[in-house]
Assembly symmetry: C2
Homo-oligomer: 346 residues x 2
DNA sequence: GTTTAGCACTCAATATGCGTGAGTGCTAAC
DNA sequence: GTTAGCACTCACGCATATTGAGTGCTAAAC
């Protein structure tokens, strides 16, 4: 059987309607639309075909049809065109990034909030994956007899510190010098590219301090990589607004899975590799969200994709609009972060 | 009417039963308990009295009685005795604090998790309110032409840093000296006690840098006070397990209010002043949780109460057990934090 | 005077049955 | 190929019993 233009048109009409109403769509509903020139009977025949082809499902014999995952996939891949946001929407997004945001954490939280408030879905934002960022300086500041503060300043101007234990007998002076040596050696290296082997390049006074350097590197790296818990959620309860989750059991299962964050972290990390991603229903790896869709986008600092964010919602999501919104928010978010770091840098 | 021993006994039986079952308790149910020597008719009479006195409510004429807020208040104040946790429970709690926890954030998150997993309620933990902690050192480290890192080391060994802009023309040397002056002046002061006025005490080379100092103080203070967003939640979906929230609308309203965190922050900040607090139903200020109970406890670093944590659940909460659990967790939490800082300190 | 057995009554919750309407598939005519 | 028409299906809503847990009251028993 052929998926001809008319079938396509009818399928789109069904998807459009179902996204809006969440109720199975009947042939008459479609026939009544002004832009369709066929009777309900004809449409019924086409719908039967579409069902055979796997694009439509029927909850029970006397109900209308609902689009299958396959239909949404077709829609996203070939039918859909990127929606254009209204001026008001664009302004809404920009406004929420216009006031001063000092901390990365704040920006992340703000993004999650804006995202869920504008899409009305559950949003998630992965904090910037800073280990991919380049080093600029390492300062070692003694703060106690056997303790020092390792301060890492990145290419992008961001700093992180962590407390490390100093080996016995190392003078504050030696510490400062060590900091300088390390800075010179690793300036412009990515944090996750520095391995213990590379310390071999540094000889002389540092050579004996392998264990110390190793501990330091680990400590610094740990403080830079935010880990599972750095997924910021917002609007989790939006889920409860969609009729597909009016069943308590389902809603609870989904909310519990989301609250866990593990899965989200995995998905978002994965998603950092592609500018946009759309996972529809059963395409999702994780059992607990096989009846949801997940749409993500990335954000950048400068031109490096450094994190991702997205929404979780029912499969009858308005993909076109969501993608447009993600695009716009990604733009604003990238700008804010880039400015933030540009400013630090100069 | 008098609240005699028998009424008390019956009331307690009703509360016990209702906490367990969440269904209105009838006179026969109570009469069947082996430790009650009265017939259902007698109990019915007493129950009518208790209802008149405001300790019981009746959802409708042909239903049993449920305890009122007033009854729970009486229970908590006079009837209840602190439960004793089983060895297994105590071990469960201790085990979850036994492995290495490096960061305060980790400890806070861990606490929230343990709390909700053991109580099966929604838990919340207010991050340590560090502005109440005493300063030890202030380091000022230049990191760029016009930028420096202000590192604050507290009495308790914790460090925080923030980037500040250096006034034009200040040499790295002057900066270091300024750090030393400030350290000497404010060592052992509480961060929230340092005001701009006190800078008057510092004259000489610092005198002209008022604006700079002010900015620095503000910046440091900001990085120390965690703010509204520092309420860590866990087990929000536990709420959905309780039949009192099987109504979607109610559940959504409550979850939304909790997700907001604003209210929780207010309550927990308040609660930091008292070792334990119990707010039953309508005793809560906030409209959205007037049918929940909130139980909190504080935790300490050394002997200073520095934060609080607690659970939100239905009013038919098992207060005795919850209080015992909060006590035990508070103990472990305080120990971990105190050790963490003791260790840093030495 | 207090307690209890007995009984009539109430009312939410559950089950039962029926009408309604949205929707289908099929067939025959256009 | 398209469409009108018709018989059929089935979830949903509604009204009507049925049930049973629980009450309050009264009168007898202790």
């Amino acid at each position: 059987m052929e998926l001809d233009a008319r079938k396509m048109q009818i399928l789109q009409a069904i998807i459009d309607d179902y996204i809006l109403t969440a109720t199975p769509v009947g042939s008459r509903t479609i026939a009544k639309r002004s832009d369709i020139g066929f009777s309900s009977a004809t449409i019924r025949n086409e719908m039967a075909d579409l069902e055979d082809m796997g694009y439509l499902d029927q909850p029970h014999t006397s109900a209308g049809r609902i689009p299958s995952d396959k239909a949404y996939r077709l829609y996203v891949n070939t039918i859909m065109q990127r929606a254009k946001l209204s001026d008001a929407e664009i302004r809404y997004i920009q406004d929420h990034y216009s006031h001063r945001l000092d901390e990365v954490d704040e920006v992340v939280k703000q993004t999650a909030w804006v995202l869920s408030s504008i899409t009305k879905y559950t949003s998630m934002v992965l904090a910037p994956q800073l280990h991919a960022i380049k080093l600029k300086h390492i300062h070692l500041v003694p703060i106690a007899e056997d303790k020092a503060l390792a301060i890492v300043v990145t290419d992008a101007g961001m700093t992180r510190d962590s407390i490390i234990r100093i080996p016995q007998g190392m003078s504050p002076d030696a510490l400062t010098r060590l900091g300088r040596t390390l800075s010179a050696r690793f300036s412009n290296c990515r944090l996750d590219e520095i391995t213990l082997q590379q310390f071999n390049g540094i000889t002389g006074e540092v050579a004996e301090q392998k264990a110390f350097l190793d501990a330091m590197l680990r400590s610094v790296r740990k403080s830079m990589s935010p880990g599972v818990r750095s997924v910021e959620l917002s609007g989790a309860t939006n889920i409860l607004n969609y009729p597909e989750y009016s069943d308590m059991e389902r809603a609870r299962a989904l909310l519990t899975a989301i609250e866990e964050k593990d899965m989200l972290y995995r998905m978002l990390t994965e998603a950092t590799n592609v500018e946009f991603s759309v996972h529809i229903g059963a395409e999702n790896e994780d059992e607990s969200i096989k009846d949801c869709s997940v749409v993500t986008a990335t954000y950048k600092i400068g031109s490096n994709p450094i994190g991702s964010f997205g929404v979780i919602g029912p499969t009858r999501m308005d993909y076109a609009r969501v993608l447009a919104m993600l695009g716009q928010i990604g733009k604003s978010l990238s700008e804010v972060l880039t400015n933030m770091f540009e400013e630090e840098r100069k």
